[in-house]
Amino acid sequence: MKKGVGELVLSDSFTDAIKNSYVLLDTNILLKAALNSKSYFLLFNHLIDNNAALMILDVCKWEFFKGSASSIELRKKENIFSIFDIGIISSRILREQVEQVIKIYRRFGRDVSLVDMFLAAFLVRFSHSDKVVLLTSNYKDFPWNIFNRIGIALVNEKKQITPIVALQLNKTAFEKSLDKF
């Protein structure tokens, strides 16, 4: 592990994973960033400095927006997408892949949220590119035998230290599992 600036510790593999890559953000990254702004600013700054294209699925955007009590609150949440230049990806393109994820998750799928299934489906859809990664703090929602943890950053929040994990699909394991279903 290399020491980072202030509240952020980065592994070299994390920087390699996100450099010049398409980085899909899980909703939990945005929620945590809002609650620990200074620490997560460093993370976002690191992503942008390394020319990562930030993206979020529309289902995650809705997860982030829900609970807003007024149009002012909603606009403040929208503002985050403009400031950090986060593109929104339509989940319409993932229908086939979500059905594949349901199959490979088997019983494990019962406890997985639909949003997490869409995130997994996104990694399946773009598994042909090694420049597409998912960033999440809930790495346990993505089974280790199907998804490779290719980089870890540690964010020092006030009450805890949170690992932010960069994930990619293990294509071989995925196809093997799908064949056996």
Binding site: Y22, L31, A33, A34, L35, N36, S37, K38, Y40, F41, F44, N45, I48, N51, A53, M55, D58, K61, G67, S68, A69, E73, K76, K77, E78, N79, I80, F81, S82, I83, F84, D85, G87, I88, I89, S90, R92, I93, F126, V132
Partner: protein, 52 residues
Amino acid sequence: MSRLKYYEGLPPKKTKRKKLNMKEAIKALEEVGKIIRKEMEYEKRSRRVGII
């Protein structure tokens, strides 16, 4: 809503990205943080009195 950028696949790659304005970014995050805290407080209260 019009300022948000929607894509049906991967967005076009930029060669040079605009640097973040630290003050503006932290302020925007903090404002949303206040909202999220209110939402969490509501969630806790509504569970206690059984609204949801």
